[in-house]
């Protein structure tokens, strides 16, 4: 069954900026579904519309059978959400933040206390439950927010950039929690990310989104396979000529030029490599660098958008922004 179903969902800011542009997709019950795209692609706007914090300009969506425009309250009860920016009261303890949430969702005392224990255990925060949140690390805050999102037994959990600004070790830890709760709590997860590995590692299906439009929705493994068995990136003296010649070869798949490199997929790279070298020599092209690898989602993204996601740069500026905002 589809737990999320959108129909031409659109958000236009200031009458001209199409943040989300007639988007159609569905999320199946029990899966981990990911939105992969660079910053400003429309990921957060989509989530905010789905969780009823923003009104769509056009189109609509259904969550657990309820229309987001008509029944925002029914939807609010059946979803959990972890926002991109931390949304905790840091003057309260972890337990108090959970208690606040539970009461806002009208949970009775017994149920509330039992559930707080359960979710704290799930994210391993039992020992820090009575510490003020302002003394938590970034990873602990994230875990607490995930726990909070689960408090009221939602059918689906929305995670907006769940590991943004976290160090690699903590990121790994959060991934494991997400997998565990998907399996153990049997909860559907909708996440957005601009980290390729995150989408690859976690998601059953990935939607690649850029400039408010979905370019493709598919399993990560299929997306990678469709690029070719192996991916090769060649940096050469004259990339235009290089591209012209190689593009014509039958065994070249998913061909793209970017910067001064050419990237394409192929099968049996070990047999094709000598061929490539011979072609280059015959055409007086000097090959400067060759990079051969198994295809990643980065290659898929490059293939669909013609550019790289530049994750490192956004990561650093993003972290800086967050730190600045949190002061």
């Amino acid at each position: 069954m589809d737990i999320v179903e959108t129909n031409e969902l659109t958000k236009i800011y200031n009458k001209s900026v199409k943040a989300v542009d007639h988007v159609n997709f569905s999320v199946k019950e029990g899966e981990i579904f990911g939105f992969l795209g660079p910053n400003g692609a429309g990921k957060t706007t989509t989530i905010k519309m789905l969780v009823t914090l923003l009104k769509p300009t056009e189109g609509t969506a259904k969550i657990a059978g309820h229309d987001i425009k008509k029944y925002p309250d029914k939807i609010r009860n059946s979803i959990g959400i972890v926002f991109q920016e931390p949304a905790l009261d840091d003057q309260l303890t972890g337990r108090e933040n959970l208690d606040f949430h539970a009461r806002m969702y009208g949970m009775k005392k017994e149920k509330r206390e039992k559930r707080i224990k359960e979710v704290l255990k799930l994210v391993n925060l039992e020992e820090k439950a009575n510490t003020l949140v302002k003394n938590y690390s970034g990873g602990m805050k994230r875990r607490l927010e995930i726990a909070r999102g689960l408090m009221h037994f939602p059918k689906i959990l929305f995670l907006d950039e769940p590991t943004l600004g976290l160090d690699p070790q903590t990121r790994r830890l959060i991934w494991d929690y997400i997998k565990v709760l998907n399996e153990k709590e049997n909860i559907t997860i909708f996440l957005t990310t601009h980290y390729m590995e995150e989408a690859d590692y976690l998601c059953d299906r990935v939607a690649i989104i850029d400039y408010g439009k979905i370019l493709v929705i598919e399993k990560p493994s299929k997306l990678k396979n469709q690029i070719g068995k192996d991916v090769i990136t060649i940096g050469c003296s004259n990339s235009e000529i290089c591209a012209d010649i190689l593009k014509r070869e039958k065994w070249v798949e998913s061909f793209k030029t970017h910067d001064s490199n050419v990237t394409f997929g192929t099968k049996e790279i070990e047999k094709k490599l000598p061929l490539i070298l011979r072609i280059a020599e015959r055409n007086n092209i000097e090959i400067k660098t060759i990079d051969i690898r198994k295809p990643t989602l980065e290659d898929v993204f490059l293939y669909y958008t013609g550019r790289k996601i530049r994750e490192q740069e956004t990561n650093i500026s993003e972290q800086f922004k967050r730190r600045f905002m949190n002061r």
Partner: protein, 255 residues
């Protein structure tokens, strides 16, 4: 969804109280600031006499209701403005996405703010008693509490309205000096209405806090410019209007 969610109102109130108790520096300043005003200004100008004010009433008696109003006005406006802090720190999203009515959120926040205000008012009252201000406590203490709460409602409403017009907390200092200080200084908090020049008095009449200060004077020291029922009815109407507008604007806000 029901219009009022009592558990949500309660937990919004509870959060406000917890934050109030935990801000240690604020608790200290809650004692120190009114103490300085009353001790230095009140006792220092003790010799001052105002035409039209009965001779048995000292300046510190006149000042105390004003300082009570001051120590309610500021934190209450901030309670309204604290929506902006919650916005800045993302917590507002957590509140807005919950399945409760916006009205419940405003009511919870306001009750929390009003409770704080009452505590602040009592602190000033306590300091004033230590400094030797003679109240007719037996008479109208309950009425004084009512005035404190009403001042708080008006101020929270003002805070909510300002918050809805602001994107972030950067203009905060500006707002305080442009709105909150004039509200205080024009309210006759520091001198009786009688002694003001007539143009200033006219301005004071459009300041909602004036009726709070005057009402507090009536109920605490038995002297006031307006009869107490006028103060009470004006303030009740104003608090309904301000809270109504504040809640309306808040209900329109997006995280």
């Amino acid at each position: 969804m029901s219009i009022l969610n009592y558990q949500a109102i309660y937990v919004m109130w509870l959060r406000q109280m917890k934050r109030f108790v935990r801000a240690k520096s604020r608790i200290i300043s809650n004692f120190v600031q009114p103490f300085f005003f009353l001790a230095i200004l009140g006792l220092g100008l003790g010799a001052a006499r105002f035409p039209g004010v009965p001779s048995g009433i000292n300046y510190i008696d006149i000042l105390t209701p004003g300082i009570i109003a001051m120590s309610i006005l500021f934190p209450s406006v901030f309670v309204g403005l604290s929506v902006l802090w919650d916005k800045q720190f993302g917590f507002l999203q957590e509140v807005l996405v919950a399945p409760v009515s916006r009205l419940s959120i405003v009511i919870g926040r306001t009750l929390g703010g009003a409770t704080n205000a009452l505590i602040q008012g009592l602190i000033v009252l306590f300091i004033a008693i230590i400094l030797g201000v003679s109240f007719q406590l037996s008479l109208n203490l309950i009425l004084a509490f009512v005035f404190m709460i009403l001042i708080s409602f008006v101020a929270i409403g003002i805070g909510l309205i300002i918050a809805s017009r602001m994107e972030n907390i950067e203009g905060f200092q500006f707002i305080v000096s442009l709105f909150v200080f004039p509200l205080l200084f024009l309210s006759s908090a520091f001198s009786p209405l009688e002694s003001l020049p007539s143009w200033l008095r006219t301005i004071a009449f459009i300041d909602p806090i004036t009726y709070g200060v005057d009402g507090l004077r009536a109920s605490l020291i038995g002297y006031s410019y307006f009869p107490i029922y006028i103060n009470l009815s004006v303030l009740i109407i104003l608090s309904i209007v301000m809270m109504g507008l504040g809640s309306y604007f808040f209900s329109k806000s997006e995280a």
